[in-house]
């Protein structure tokens, strides 16, 4: 049985988050309870009276998916059912790295047996593509528009993986809808580990990023292949595994597909900065 019934989903065509969320729940299986932050995923999957979720699923608020999951986990512990039921908290990048960061940090620090999945589509897409802490450098969003005095988003992505790893939790990983087998492996691996886990999944967004819906997987792949979205794993704050990209592709190949970076294509200085981000990733994580 498909545990995410897309018949009851109103996601945009080509939605990377829908692909990722469906893979997460179907890989996890029936014995799971999911807490979901406010955001695109929540809105398109749970419009009363329809629900795409065939597992127990709860949406409470924007910033508290990790805390609600903590309560679910504590309740299961009290009931003696935690052995057989996995708890997953899930949120978009805003619900994870911005408004949800405090609750997430609390969840990680307290050692709850929960997998937190961040569906990283790099902006507040649900409210109309506003900039988040995980929006990449120079991206054009409705609150980080380029103009005479701006080249778009002024800051690079918040280093969420490292922030989570610094909590010295058993498992932290990044994945991408561009690499589905790898994504599935990481979900499986995470769910065999007891304690807090953090999985950040790159989820291209045709609407917010400005590309044709059929390109979602390609865009996702290129982000990894250019070195801009390294797929890596940490165990207790130690980098343990990376997906190698022996011959990194030029970042322009990734950028030119997306309207959110269109304003950069003739801006050598900014392109160099983005190139530098990829290079730093490749060097720091040993991607080649």
């Amino acid at each position: 049985m498909n545990l995410f019934d897309s018949k009851f989903s109103t996601a945009c065509p080509g939605c990377g988050q829908e692909i990722a969320a469906s893979i997460v729940v179907n890989t996890a299986g029936e014995n799971v309870i999911i807490t979901n932050a406010t955001g695109c995923l929540e809105v398109f999957s749970s419009k009363f009276p329809d629900s795409a979720w065939k597992v127990p699923w709860i949406h409470s608020l924007f910033e508290n998916a990790a805390a609600v999951a903590s309560g679910v986990e504590a309740a299961l512990k009290h009931l003696g059912k935690l052995e057989n039921i996995r708890v997953i908290a899930q949120a978009g990048d805003g619900g994870t790295a911005d408004i949800g960061l405090q609750a997430l940090s609390g969840m990680l620090e307290r050692g709850h047996d929960i997998l937190f999945c961040c569906y990283d589509n790099e902006a507040y897409e649900n409210t109309g593509i506003q900039r988040s802490g995980l929006t990449p450098l120079d991206a054009n969003t409705t609150t980080s528009p380029p103009g005479k005095k701006s080249t778009g988003n002024i800051r690079p992505k918040k280093t969420m993986l490292e922030i989570c790893a610094a909590h010295k939790i058993p498992y932290v990983a990044s994945a991408s809808v561009g690499f589905i087998p790898d994504l599935k492996e990481k979900i499986k691996k995470a769910l065999t580990i007891r304690g807090p886990k953090y999985l950040q999944i790159h989820c291209p967004c045709p609407l917010g990023w400005g590309y044709a819906p059929e390109l979602t997987l390609k865009v996702g792949k290129l982000a990894v292949e250019t070195g801009l979205y390294p797929l890596i794993e940490f165990e207790y704050d130690k980098l343990t595994s990376v997906m190698k990209i022996p011959e990194p592709k030029p970042v322009e190949e990734y950028l030119k597909l997306q309207k959110r970076f269109k304003h950069l294509l003739n801006n050598k200085q900014e392109l160099q900065k983005i190139e530098q981000i990829a290079k730093t990733n490749i060097k720091n994580f040993g991607l080649t």
């Binding site: 029936e30 014995n31 799971v32 309870i33 807490t35 979901n36 929540e42 809105v43 749970s46 419009k47 009363f48 009276p49 629900s51 979720w53 065939k54 597992v55 127990p56 699923w57 709860i58 949406h59 409470s60 608020l61 910033e63 508290n64 990790a66 805390a67 609600v68 999951a69 903590s70 309560g71 679910v72 986990e73 504590a74 309740a75 299961l76 512990k77 009290h78 009931l79 039921i85 405090q102 609750a103 940090s105 609390g106 620090e109 307290r110």
Partner: protein
Amino acid sequence: MKRFLEGSRAVAEAIKLCKPGVISAYPITPQTHIVQNLAQFVADGELNSQFVNVESEHSAASVVLGAIATGVRAFTATSSQGLLLMGEVIYNIAGMRLPLVLTCANRAVSAPINIWNDHQDSLAMRDTGWIQFYAENNQEALDLHIQAYKLAENKEIMLPVMVCIDGYILTHGHEPVDIPEQEKVDQFLPPYSTSYKLDPSHPITMGYLADPTCYMETRVDIQNALDRALKLIPQIAKDFKHTFGRDTGGLVETYRLEDAQYALIAQGSLAGTIKQVVDDLREKGKKVGALRVITYRPFPKEAIYQALKDVPNIGVVEKAISLGAYGPLFTEIKGIFQNRPENPKINGFVAGLGGRDISQETIIEVFTKLEGAQKDLEFIDIKKELLNGFIRF
């Protein structure tokens, strides 16, 4: 067993008897003694509960939300800024129809920061769909928590209950308290059982998006449940008396109102001081009485009307103000007498904000004011010298 206990300990004993499976809280004065006691019970193995120390009140409320959604009874407590920080989750818990019990150790709100008692914090939450009880003393603080779970978890209600107890005055005040036997509490309050829960064997979706075609009905449904609670609360108080032999709870308490010409209305521990003054004035031949609003939400309009309809002069003394308007309780008491044949004179008094002591002398003075002109709003025991110029803290 009767013991001489701090109010916080009395509440903790009540919660222990109710056996919540999950407790979560964040420290804030004057609430902390309650959860410290509970943490010790858990540490000593006297209470089988998961005690989750969180990083904020917002998360404390969210943790207990998640726990009840999983079908496990839960508890949290807070005060003042903590309750305000929870505010978003407070609405959410009621909207999701989760029967949480929360203690609000009532405290003023900032700015300026003030850790002392008034009712501004819980009254800010009056429109959330929560049931609100106000305790007069430590015994009632204990008893109301047991009744609160019974009420919240009733299938016809399924709404959270906030038990409000005056910060310091009760939380840090010691009094004789009768702690009920566990067997009797078990008999009065069966384990929480619901099919409305997160359970992989019967998967449900909780927290839907409700668009304009169905949102409004969720509010009507809560309103209807609160109307049912108005009937159920006296019944639960009656059952409680039957089991424990004590008159506690209910909608309102009337005190020497028969033939009264002057009556004061109050909530919480202040009612105790007023009753004392009523006795003293009655001895001097004054026809005075009091009404205590125990249940503030749902608002017991009929019970209040019946209690006060023959009293020509009424004063509302409250530890809160809707700034720019009046005391919140005053406004609602006035509303009760709209389109009624009686036309009592109703005076509004705001007193005791930020912990300013309300003495018996003050209450006597307030009774005297009922003989004077009608005023919608009068602040009591104000230091005029502090009001020269613009106050900035």
